[in-house]
Amino acid sequence: MIINQKVSDLIELNFTGVVIVSEEPQNEFIQIQSEKWLDVAKYIKTDSELKFDSCQCITGVDLGEDKDFEVRYNFHSMKLKHKIEIRIAIERKKPSVSSIEQVWRGADWLEREVYDMYGIRFKGHRDLRRMLLPEDWKGWPLRKDYKTPNIYNGMKVPKVRKGWD
């Protein structure tokens, strides 16, 4: 994929040291550091050669109980008709990353959903609330170390059906 190389080079040109070169061949995605994410995001949206004007998907990933979280962004350009995936690793203990909600409005709900499921805080998000789960839900369900609660709001959570052991 040529576009990946191009984007990777352009980002590296403007923000030195942001792109993390991993041992995996980077032909499908670009791994970048979380610190300058907001600036990079603004850059790839506005740069005339990239113009990623549409944020398609934000996926939270938990690769295992001892590994970092990842947030994976899929961008697409309606003008230039190309797409890219950007990955950002987030440390597990204090998961947070800059919000790009004000860069792409569509990222608003997508980020809220990731927050809802993984508890990853998006710094600068103006309305970071639970999205799909109720406001009073405890825990982050899609983390690998999540345990289904026994009791929710005083109601017992049924585990196994009667006679279906």
């Binding site: 004007d53 549409s54 944020c55 398609q56 998907c57 996926t59 939270g60 990933v61 938990d62 690769l63 994976r72 899929n74 309606m78 008709k81 995936e85 792409w104 409005r105 569509g106 990222a107 608003d108 709900w109 997508l110 959903e113 499921m117 639970r130 999205m131 799909l132 789960l133 109720p134 369900p141 899609l142």
Partner: protein
Amino acid sequence: MGLIHAEEMTLNIGPQHPSTHGVLRLKVKTDGEIISEITPVIGYLHRCFEKHCENLSYEQVIPFTDRCDYIAAMNNSFGYVLAVEKLMEIQVPERVEYIRVIMAEYNRIASHLLALGTFGLDVGAYTPFLYMFRDRERILDLFELTCGARLLYNYMWIGGVSHDLPVGFMEASYRFLDEFEKNITEYHNILSYNKIFIERSADVGTMPKEVAIDYGVTGPNLRGSGVKWDLRKDEPYSIYDKFIFNVPVGKGLMGSVGDCWDRYWVRAEEMKESVNIIRQALDKMPRKGDVHEALPKKVRPLKGSIYYRTESPRGDLGYYIISDGSSTPLRVKMRSPAFTALSALSEIATGWMLSDVLVILGSLDIVLGEIDR
């Protein structure tokens, strides 16, 4: 003596309301009829699709993808199946590809029929809704003939489809298509060009191009705003590159580009294109072939991840699948087009009247099953 105390009233539209298309709740601040603030609250139909997928094998996920967007279940499982196939690098037989396209396009028609019908219902027109349901019924009959189910099919399999086309499918298809093409004209006459309907939907809830792209709105909603973007054309998956069809875009025939009428019209025109594709597919399809030929013995993709997009009736349906090499996926994320479409609602519906908000909501064609997953 006091001043008249006037303040905004908070109104909860839903979760149980005739025209929220499911269990959506809109927290709305109103000043009389005018809506000044609108906050969608979702999650009432959250069924933990993504959590379920952590514990299911790849094949077992398919019926769950059906249940996400229950109006266009074929398209949903189509996207998922294609993603897994890409991950496993399976080449499916040509006949299977054709069957899949036929089914997906039929389901697109069925979904659009429901969208247009309920949109008419939101505006108050009852009769077109039932005409459209009558035709949708015929499509569901065809699905039932093929896979035994009317709504949730589990028809697309990884590497194939569950059943070959049954005897009599072709004849019934041609018969239906002939009838249906005439009926589209009738829908246009009774609903689309009805002056009251135009008054209600044209120039209402206009979504400019920039807003639509910024919110990540896709599918007919985006095309209604005048952006010619259709994955079937621009990034052909399966065998869509073998068909000749147009991509209708909103032109603002009755009002401004990107209004509710345009979104409606794009769907109506898309049905015609789908009929066109089905006709071509039925003609070109190889007559013989084993649909189970390419079924893998064990579905166990290599380690890796994929983001695969297909064009569902509601827009770009993306699946993000991460495989850790076992028979259960590590993560399945569904990028649902209706989710992003709904996120744009508060932007385009603020400032309109209460009746308009429901019309705008209807024109976005959301399915709560897909939004909440």
